[in-house]
Amino acid sequence: MWSIKPPAKTNTPPDAKPFTLADLAAGQRAEIACLECPHAASCERLMAYGLVQGQSVLLVQKLPAFVIRIDETELALDEFVARCIHLTQPRA
């Protein structure tokens, strides 16, 4: 599911790096594609907070920690966790 994008700026293959919450800019919104955590427990905790496939996430800020909003829940997390949350590319 690729949207039409300008030619890649660098020569890294397009699917080398997944698009994650850490790549989103503050104030942007995107949908969760999947969670890729090193431990099952981390995934389950995030799911219990409502981070499930298809949910829309709003990135409020990145500093001093990531703050996101899902429905009416606000969560703070660090960049490491943000990289575990894979998103579907927002359409330009």
Binding site: A40, A41, S42, C43, E44, R45, L46, M47, A48, Y49, G50, V52, Q53, G54, V60, Q61, L63, P64, A65, V67, D71, E72, T73, E74, L75, A76, L77, D78, F80, V81
Partner: protein
């Protein structure tokens, strides 16, 4: 874990009403409304998790139990484990799940787990007023039909819908399993349930927990079934786990998420509010985690806490209780009474002498420390209930990461400014072993408790700003440096930082009052006996002459290395029992004009970094084990003297 209620006062009894739900859904408001004024707060056995019980206002035969807020009943934290255990073992007349109508998705995860426990359930959709304001519509009737239990819409803070809840409590319906897992899991569940039927109350719940590899459930099953059956249980679990790449618990959670999606369809609708003005509390909450505005807010909060605990508690209250109440009335009276009643000098000294149980230990415990921890616990309770602490965690996250920790460690570290012993106990709530050891070390090394801080600030207040800056700069620098180094030396993982930021709320006075009382009771029961023990030990050292000998032996260290007068030995010696006790010794010396400005700074830095009090040491042993506790202590004592000596040399060199 016990299937049937035992005689323990804390264990569940029959016919209770149990409240469960996520954090910040208004559970305690509802609890306050359901119960009267008589409420007990107690730690769940073996944990620091607090369970609140009260007598139902409308039916004095029933008790209402408030459990800690949870995200899931498939436990990932102590709080969740306790709530799950309470539910597994109780035979309640009703379980009331309190849900935030705005956050129905998260609530339904718990509902689906309660369904597996097959408890009599009433679902309360609370905060419907807030949901309404944000144009969120929940169809309660349709939801009730889907769940098979009553669903009551309330706005507890406005007392709306509560009568309907009381009626529903009379005849709650038993909820039946709602989520069907994949065939493999269901077959395994059926097999285990069959064997557990008649053995315990909630076979499906126990079987699910067992399959997830929950240690408590494993033990529970092992005790209830014979050895052959247990082997069979384990075989079923292993087969299930081996066959798929995804862990069983994640598979179950995915099935629940799918069910929640289906259940929400046509029940929960949101019409995203646009242009509606953001309420002030919400704006303030946002500013409090802002990279720029968060800083002045943080400083303001710290200043307010300092004014209340440091100035009012440690100054005004201690001044009145220690000098007036104890100094002029209680102690002279006790001394006179002991002198007339007891003819033996030794016994008199034991009670009212310079190391007397009454004149030192009790005066110290009640007159100096009690007012300080009392004000601290109130301040801490307000920070807790207002929702500021998680925001503090966000602000401190970067700083803590430099020490190999993350924002979550803020809670025990801030609590350490009240009482390091209590804070060391709460390190249990940290997720990884490395986090727990690091925080325990830093608490013991350089986080002064409120009592010590009170004494230290009292001394610094009499000096110039530079002295305060040197003291705080050295202590903070040492904490950062040791944390940074220790994080690289201590093996293991640091936990991931995920924390919920609740909306800012006005704290409820009654709730803070109840919590403060419970914490004070804990302080009196656990800490006060240690003051008495410490004083008795000092008395024994003094009587046997060991005190004088130790002073002689440590002279090179105290006098040559630290450049302090020989009397300072006493302060360090009592510092072994309580750091603040030691600081109080310096306070006395400074008042008597025995210390120069430079000596005071060196003495205060050394005593701040010095070993924790004996109570803290015992708790370290209990929580981290003898080896770790001894290792930490063996590092801290020479290290504190090293820093003190170096500081002494630097000050001298600078002139």
């Amino acid at each position: 874990m016990d299937c049937h209620g035992s005689g323990n006062a804390l264990s569940p009894s029959d016919g209770e009403i149990i409240l469960v739900g996520n954090h910040n859904v208004g559970k305690s408001v509802l609890f306050g409304w359901l119960t009267g004024t008589y409420v007990t707060v107690a730690n769940y056995p073996g944990t620091t998790v607090e369970i609140t019980r009260g007598i139902a206002k409308r039916d004095s035969h029933r008790t209402v139990v408030d459990t800690p807020g949870v995200n899931s009943l498939q436990p990932l934290s102590d709080d969740e484990r306790v709530t799950r255990d309470v539910l597994l073992n109780a035979t309640p007349s009703a379980v009331v799940q309190v849900a935030d109508a705005k956050n129905l998705r998260r609530a339904l995860l718990i509902t689906s787990q309660l369904a597996d426990l097959q408890v009599p359930l009433v679902l309360v959709l609370n905060m419907t007023d807030e949901a309404h304001a944000r144009r969120i519509v929940v169809d309660a009737d349709k939801l009730a039909a889907r769940l098979g239990v009553r669903v009551i819409s309330t706005a507890a803070t406005k007392r709306q819908g509560l009568d309907a809840l009381v009626r529903a409590l009379d005849a709650p319906q038993q909820i039946q399993p709602l989520v069907t897992f994949d065939d493999e899991i269901e077959r395994a569940l059926d097999e285990l349930q069959e064997k557990l039927r008649g053995v315990c109350l909630r076979p499906r719940g126990v079987a699910l927990n067992f399959l997830n590899g929950d240690p408590a459930s494993d033990e529970f099953v092992q005790v209830r079934v014979d050895a052959k059956a247990y082997v069979e249980f384990c075989r079923v679990r292993e087969q299930l786990q081996q066959r798929a790449a995804v862990p069983l618990s994640t598979r179950m959670q995915k099935a629940r998420a799918k069910w929640i999606d289906e259940t929400l369809r046509g029940v929960y609708a949101t019409d995203a509010p646009s242009g509606s003005p953001e309420p002030f509390a919400s704006k303030l909450g946002r500013w409090a985690v802002h990279p720029v505005w968060g800083v002045p807010i943080l400083l303001l909060v710290m200043f307010a806490v300092y004014e209340f605990v440091g100035v009012f508690g440690a100054g005004t209250l201690v001044g009145f209780i220690e000098k007036t109440l104890f100094g002029e009335y209680i102690n002279p009276f006790a001394t006179a009474l002991v002198t007339t009643l007891i003819p033996f000098q030794r016994v008199r000294d034991f009670l009212v002498g310079p190391y007397g149980v009454l004149t030192v230990a009790l005066t110290y415990g009640f007159a100096i420390i009690l007012p300080i921890v009392f004000t601290f616990f109130i301040a801490f309770g307000i920070l807790e209930d207002s929702g500021y602490l998680p925001r503090l965690a966000v602000m401190a996250h970067r700083l803590f990461r430099a020490m190999g920790l993350n924002g979550k460690a803020v809670l025990p570290m801030v609590l350490g400014l009240g009482c390091d012993t209590m804070a060391t106990m709460t390190t249990r709530t940290l997720e990884t072993k490395k986090d727990r050891i690091l925080v325990t070390l830093l608490l013991a090394l350089g986080v002064p408790c409120s009592a010590q801080l009170g004494v230290v600030l009292g001394m610094l207040a009499g000096m110039d700003l530079a002295a305060t800056l040197v003291w705080s700069g050295v202590v903070a620098g040492v904490l950062l440096a040791v944390g940074w180094l220790a994080a690289r030396v201590i093996p293991g993982d640091t936990s991931e930082f995920v924390i919920e930021i609740p909306p800012l709320r006005m704290p409820q006075v009654s709730h803070i009052f109840i919590k403060t009382l419970a914490r004070l009771e804990w302080y009196l029961r656990e800490v006060l006996p240690l003051f008495i023990l410490g004083t008795v030990m000092l008395f024994a050292l003094d009587v046997t002459g060991a005190l004088a000998w130790i002073q002689q032996a440590t002279q090179p260290l105290i006098v040559q290395w630290l450049g302090l007068p020989v009397e300072a030995t006493n302060a360090f010696l009592v510092g072994f029992l309580r750091r603040d006790y030691g600081a109080a010794g310096f306070f006395q010396m400074a008042q008597d004009g025995l210390l120069t400005r430079e000596q005071i700074i060196v003495a205060l830095v050394t005593i701040t970094l010095f070993v924790p009090c004996i109570a803290n040491f015992f708790v370290m042993v209990k929580e981290r084990g003898v080896k770790t506790a001894l290792a930490i202590t063996a590092f801290i004592i020479p290290f504190a003297f090293l820093v003190g000596g170096v500081l002494n040399a630097v000050i001298r060199w600078l002139g």
